[in-house]
């Protein structure tokens, strides 16, 4: 399993890997927002957390379609399916590798973009923390969508369409946790704990569903 993790990480940083693209997309999307809404620093500070979250959500969906498609194209998927190792575990490890390569850079880039959005220290810390807790959930639930779309010739866009509605709860609790941290009366912990719970739940549902979909779509 460590071997699979190491291989996927290696593939994502080698030439042609997608590790850089996601974070670049994230930066571009967030950078474009002020051109739309205007450089009003107070307004940007107010909507900053939401924009960072939406940007991170879109960016983490970006490379998701390749998660199983690449394995299928060169025939590796067949061999992964045949082994004694439970397929759920294989999918889980692939999700972890994918998150480390694409999700974690987003979390690291978030504080910098927070500065561009003129957010204060609390807001930046809260956004980074919630992204750290929330982006794995997006990857896990996205894996299910990627597995469902794996057999389609042009599944890339479809994955986003399939997964976005499923990721709405993550977005809701992620953003509301950040706003709870900034605005005084609302407590931070309840939405954040729900976010963590969602993460754990999706860590189970996602791989199980993805494994089932992969078995069924094999032909």
């Amino acid at each position: 399993m460590i071997a699979l993790l190491a291989r996927d990480l290696k593939l994502s940083v080698r030439a042609g890997g997608g590790a850089l693209i996601g974070v670049l997309f994230f930066m571009t999307v967030v950078a474009v927002i002020p051109f739309g809404v205007g450089p009003d620093l107070n307004l940007l500070a107010r909507i900053g957390p939401a924009i960072l979250w939406i940007g991170a959500l879109l960016a983490s969906l970006l490379g998701l379609d390749r998660l199983f498609q690449a394995e299928r194209e060169d025939g590796s998927l067949d061999l992964l399916l045949m082994q004694e190792t439970p397929l759920v575990l294989t999918v889980f490890v692939k999700c972890i590798a994918h998150w480390l390569a694409t999700g974690l850079p987003l979390v690291i880039a978030a504080p910098l973009l927070g500065l561009f959005m003129n957010m204060d220290e609390t807001a930046i810390a809260a956004t980074t923390l919630t992204l750290l807790a929330g982006t794995p959930a997006i990857t896990f639930i996205g894996a299910a969508g990627a597995a469902i779309a794996v057999a389609l010739p042009r599944g890339g866009l479809l994955v986003s369409i399939l997964v976005l509605p499923l990721a709405i709860p993550v977005l809701i609790f992620g953003v509301s946790a950040v706003y709870a941290a900034i605005q005084e009366p609302a407590p931070f912990l309840p939405p954040f704990l729900i976010l963590v719970a969602l993460n754990l739940l999706f860590a189970v549902i996602g791989p199980v569903a993805a494994a089932a979909a992969l078995r069924l779509s094999s032909d």
């Binding site: 850089l20 950078a31 002020p34 450089p39």
Partner: protein
Amino acid sequence: MSEPSLAIRKFSDLANPTRFLALVAIVWPWLAGLTLCLFAVGLYLAFTTVGDYQQGETVRIMYVHVPAAWLAMMCYTVMALSALGTLVWRHPLADVSAKAAAPIGACFTLVALITGSLWGKPMWGTWWVWDARLTSVFVLFLMYLGMIALNRAMDDPTRAAKVSAVLILVGFVNIPIIKFSVEWWNTLHQPASVIRLDGPTISAEFLRPLLVMAIAFTLLFFTLHILAMRNEILRRRIAVLRRHAARAAGREGDAA
């Protein structure tokens, strides 16, 4: 100065990468030494001049910020010239040059952004304002990153070079438009109270260290650029050798 001679040779009788490598081996220690000396002088000057009465000590940030911003633009110009070389003269070194310049340009742009932000915090009280100049530099930074990503996404280097040459030129043509529209957008929104970067005209006292630092940074860029080009040439050579190796092994396999 070794700089002009290199430029002349680079474009005239240096079609051959091997010749280029030989030249780099001679030139780069001198260039690096000169860069080091200039940096020593520049840093000495930068820390001995008195501070500006308005901006205080922070004026010293200018000595790294302005050269980095200058390099960010110059590097893009170098890339645009290389892109022309790739597309028009099909010079084999031109695409190597463009590819090697992208990460260096991105790094200097990053320095310009960071130092600009560090300058802005004590001046404006915030790390970042969507000032026209800063924003344009940020857009330039994104363009550099996009270029690097494009180069990494394609595994055939010569094809990647041609495609990214087109992108570089499109970007180069677009830069004035982007700059103009960002400025227009900015004046549309910007409240007049924000202090602009230019401030009072720079007096000769600041100009001297600034010039020395700018030349030092430029030389640093060229040193790094030719060394990065050398790496890129070696990388391509390795790729060719590997293909040779694979083919040679095939022939032996048939003979056996």
